[in-house]
Amino acid sequence: MLDWLKSPFLTFQEFVLLAGRATVNAVRRPFYGQDLFLQMDTIGVGSLPITVLIGFFSGVIMALQMSRALSQYGATGQVGQITAITLVREMGPVLTALLIAGRNASGIASELGSMKVSEQIDAMRALGTDPVKKLVTPRLLAMCVTLPLLTIIADFVGIVGGYMVAVPLLRLTTGSQYWNNAWRSLEYNDIAQGLIKPLLFAFIIALVGCLYGMRTTGGTQGVGRATTQAVVVASVWIFIVTALVTRIFVNL
């Protein structure tokens, strides 16, 4: 029973230690700028098309669902407000994070896992370089920069998607009313939680991917297992953290 409980606590302890080391390394020389830009390209630019697609359709679906509900109360003019708030507060950050977790937490875990099982991480340590500094810190920093940016893009494209449904397709409201409602409904509180969440999710995705990759054992089968675990654990923690942050902001 104790052993069963010990494992998640030890994993969490490793996560906290890795987070500490990776964060401290961000301000300690030497800096691996080239690795950072490479990761920003892989995570940010590489995820842009799929983020735009998912963001757009989440706005479309939101407006479609709201059109029926709002028409019952004769409030179809509020579709811009509801789409904007839902996307900026919750849907944009969570959907983008889940997408990036599926795409990049798995990518990071499998890349680092393959390096681990083929002794490349040991070789890196033996050659006098810190794998946390060389592999984890650039991925963490790149994720912290790109995930909030991707979320902002997803939010905007989602609101555009909502507009496409609400105005030209279903004619629920006018274009100016839609944008006016969407813009006016957003408060600083919404923007703040919409940006804090992706920053926290970035920590979770990058560090969970790196942690499960770097503790891979058991050859190629182990790499597959580490990849699956990284995506599952990152996704679960995204929902736990969003619930906690929303709880804090609801009370503000």
């Binding site: 020389r29 030497p30 800096f31 390096m115 083929s118 002794e119 490349q120 040991d122 070789a123 890196m124 340590r125 033996a126 050659l127 006098g128 370089t129 810190d130 060389k134």
Partner: protein, 287 residues
Amino acid sequence: MARPKANAPRCILKFEDVSLQFDQPRPALDRVSFEIWSGETRIILGAAGSGKTVIMKIALGLLKPTSGRVSVMEQDVTHFDERQWYDVRSHIGVLFQEGGLFDSLTIEENVAYPLLNQARFMTAGKKPTLDSVRPDVQEALNFVELGNTLTKFPSELSGGMRRRVGIARGSVADPDLFLYDSPTAGLDPITANTIIALLIKDREMRNSTAAIITHRFQDGHLMANFRYNPEKDCLEKLAADSPIRERTKFMVMNEGRLVFEGSESALDASQDPYISKFSMNPARKAS
């Protein structure tokens, strides 16, 4: 690469009663003590699972001993943390069993890796560029006769070539100690002899200190009895009184314990059934 080192002898690696216990009842290493001095070649022999690679990993700080004391270059490193180890490791060259090359980097980037990433080669925290280290990389690859493979990836090379790139990467930063983990494992006899010839050449050209982990007694025999002739670019047999013979020492590991330490002649003279498996003595040949 061909820079000879200062001749003042110093203790490069020292193990004092070093033990390592994992979860198994039998320790992976059981009170092992030895010293490797500068200019010495140490051949570490033993069956699979006898603790040879554990010695290498402890010497590199990749594993921490349960008890005992480890000194590298006359510095007690037993309680060093990971950050302190990075500086120590940058003075140790290492060849992993499968080469340990980074498969997403080209051969040039692999060999340049220590020069580009070790803190001691950085000036004001800035890394040297690949262009600036290219001459050193080219020289290291020429040394292992792979000067035309700069743009290739490790997957495009054979097993023997990957080991040779590993040797180039390990020696490019001119380390004080070179650890070779099974440099000839899984290779055909001709390629294996080519690798050992390179190790001998490196010893002569750099006056290097090396520890070679192997289960092939032929590797140790070649190291102890041959020298590199730079004029003829070939190996030749050593004279009977050559100091190189004295500087090549053998140790045999068995189940985590050091069961033999001495010269090749002492190894050949051993009547112990396990130790004689790793020697060239007539009894072994007969069996």
